[in-house]
């Protein structure tokens, strides 16, 4: 069998898109959690962490229920867009987003809390608008949290397998990810192929991580003294 790159690219695409969405969705949640004094905060924090607790296949099962044509979200989507999310790449993105949310929200929230209000106030006094100040001051100062969150989210999406199998249906070229391919090789006792794929995956991720950390290292956020 020639080495099949498609699942790898698909996985990388999924992980990249998921991380992008996670950062977009997780950042406001993390910001709210870091800033609010609402009593709801504690509950929301707990809810965000919950997807982690369910075994992936079980979470996948619930997502299947929710996203299916009979489910609350799936039914809505079906009537609006004509198709539900299951067995599609978009569905995988949705599922991965839910599943990896805590990995992004929590480190980012921690970083926001460490930054505190001070820099934001300084930026306001220097005429920055809220968004401007957020992106030019808070985000760069909380960079470590974004990197941690992004790395955990990315790696986890690459490695995740139970949920995506369930929601995606293992359709080659659409929802057949590298994690599923590796799993198949292991199941069918095709160990050499499994080793090769795993090594590729690990090597690729190692390089990505190495780059991320090396770049981060050149801009230490905090005073070393």
């Amino acid at each position: 069998m020639p080495f099949d790159f498609e699942p790898l690219w698909l996985s990388i695409e999924l992980a990249a898109i998921t991380v992008a969405i996670l950062l977009a969705v997780g950042t406001p949640i993390a910001w709210w959690l870091a800033r609010t004094r609402s009593r709801l905060r504690v509950a929301v924090e707990a809810v965000v962490a919950l997807p982690l607790v369910l075994p992936p296949t079980v979470l996948g099962f619930y997502l299947l229920l929710m996203l299916g044509p009979g489910g609350p979200l799936g039914g809505l989507l079906l009537s609006v867009t004509g198709s539900s999310l299951t067995f599609s790449f978009e569905g995988l993105v949705f599922a991965s987003t839910i599943y990896s949310l805590p990995f992004v929200v929590q480190p980012v929230q921690g970083a926001f809390e460490a930054v505190g209000r001070g820099p934001l106030e300084a930026a306001f006094a220097l005429r920055a608008r809220a968004f401007d100040a957020f992106f030019t001051v808070v985000v760069p100062m909380a960079r470590r949290g974004f990197i941690t969150g992004g790395v955990l989210g990315f790696a986890h999406t690459l490695g995740e397998f139970g949920v995506v199998l369930m929601v995606g249906g293992n359709i080659p070229g659409e929802t057949r990810l590298i994690s599923i391919a590796v799993f198949e090789h292991v199941e069918t006792l095709n160990y050499p192929a499994a080793h090769a794929l795993s090594a590729t995956l690990l090597g690729f991720c190692f390089l990505v991580l190495l780059t991320v950390y090396a770049v981060n290292r050149r801009f230490p956020v905090h005073a070393g003294r």
């Binding site: 106030e121 100062m141 005073a223």
Partner: protein, 389 residues
């Protein structure tokens, strides 16, 4: 000229209330701000909190703030900090640790429309001696360097009101001497009114025309500095703040050889160390009350170069072993002497006396020596629309 007497100066009205655990800020202030207004009061009395509330950083503060005819805050309104354009120099610098010194300095400048900008970054950088630091990470700066960056950063955003929280606390005297005239000009000629928190009596007296006295969360007095600092009922608040007398004079002439400048005022002339001003220029001089001695006879051959004839106007109420004596020497002049001398010399209102002042004790009060600042004013009109590099 103290702001209170200047009807063109912008008016700051603040009626604020804020609770913080045991501490309550309940400040009422209605002042015309021109020049520097010092905010003075003991540690923990609420100065920082007051400044923060004025800047719009204390959302929980209730009450009303209006500045220069615009309501910044009342029951319905809350103008956010950036629109108040209140520049803040924080007590703890608060530099952006992810930016270089240059990035910090230009942060506000870049967000200031070109036509509102007053300074070129180069000017302020030169004045604050920040050139060698520009590319540095702020984490490597010393305490004083941080303060300078913080100060430059605030000024380059061209605020309408400058709120400074002990901006010079960790600067050495020479550096202060460079920066103080700059602050004076900001506030004076460029009409950026400034609220200035400081514990440094010298700084306060030198810079401020007006004074806001804060105690235990309340504004206990505000007004021209000489008035507030000499009000006997405020002694317990103003503490050791010895403003002395501020006297408006003209430069009457220089004696290059001896390095002396003669100043003319209503009551005659005074001699002091040379100032770099043309003849005829107006200047405020300060004479601290501790530096004024009183004699009944004109003294003979002494190094005391200023001997001003006049008479006793008033003797302050009992203030321990020392007495504050108000003299009229053509202008009002305060003297602080031992009460024993009051008795020995039989001083009482109306008595003719001589005021003795050493020439080295004559401080020019504003209009400091020429600095990079003078350049900046020339550049003002010639400034290109964008100061970015």
């Amino acid at each position: 000229m103290p702001a209170a007497e200047n009807p063109a100066a912008p008016r700051l009205e603040a009626n604020l209330r804020l609770d913080r655990g045991d501490f309550r800020l309940e400040a009422s202030l209605d002042a015309r701000l021109s020049g520097v207004t010092a905010v003075f009061g003991p540690s923990g009395c609420g100065k920082t909190t007051l400044l923060r509330a004025i800047a719009g950083l204390e959302r929980e503060a209730r009450g009303r703030i209006a500045f220069d005819g615009t309501v910044w805050q009342d029951d319905r309104t809350f103008i956010p900090t950036r629109e108040r354009r209140a520049g803040l120099v924080f007590q703890d610098a608060r530099l952006f640790s992810h930016l270089t010194v240059r990035g910090n300095i230009l942060y506000g400048h870049r967000r200031t429309p070109a036509d509102e900008r007053i300074f070129q970054p180069e000017t302020v950088i030169r004045l604050m001696a920040l050139e060698p630091l520009l590319g540095r990470r702020v984490s490597s700066l010393s305490g004083g360097e941080r303060q300078r960056v913080s100060f430059a950063r605030a000024v380059l955003a061209t605020p309408r009101l400058l709120l400074m929280d002990e901006p010079l606390a960790s600067l050495d005297q020479d550096r202060k001497e460079e920066i103080l005239p700059f602050i004076e000009r900001l506030a004076g000629e460029l009409a950026i009114p400034t609220l200035y928190v400081s514990h440094e009596i010298d700084e306060v007296v030198r810079l401020a025309s007006d004074l806001v006295l804060v105690s235990d969360g309340r504004v206990v007095a505000s007004g021209p500095i000489e008035e507030v600092s000499n009000r006997f009922d405020l002694r317990s608040y103003a503490g050791r703040l010895d403003a002395g007398s501020i006297i408006r004079m003209r430069v009457a002439g220089h004696d290059e050889e001896t390095g002396i400048t003669r100043f003319a005022f209503a009551g005659g002339e005074v001699i002091g160390p040379r100032v770099d001003l043309p003849e005829g220029a107006a200047i405020n001089l300060r004479v601290r009350s501790r530096d004024v001695a009183i004699a009944l006879d004109r003294p003979g051959r002494t190094s005391i170069l200023n001997v001003l004839p006049g008479r006793v106007v008033e003797i302050g109420p009992n203030d321990g072993p020392q007495a504050h004596v108000l003299l009229d020497v053509g202008t009002a002049l305060w003297a602080r002497i031992m009460r024993r001398s009051v008795n020995e010399l039989e001083l009482r209102p109306g008595r003719p006396v001589y005021a003795l002042i050493k020439a080295v004790a004559v401080d020019r009060r504003s209009l400091g020596r020429p600095t990079a600042m003078d350049l900046s004013l020339e550049e003002r009109d010639a400034a290109p629309p964008d100061g970015r590099r």
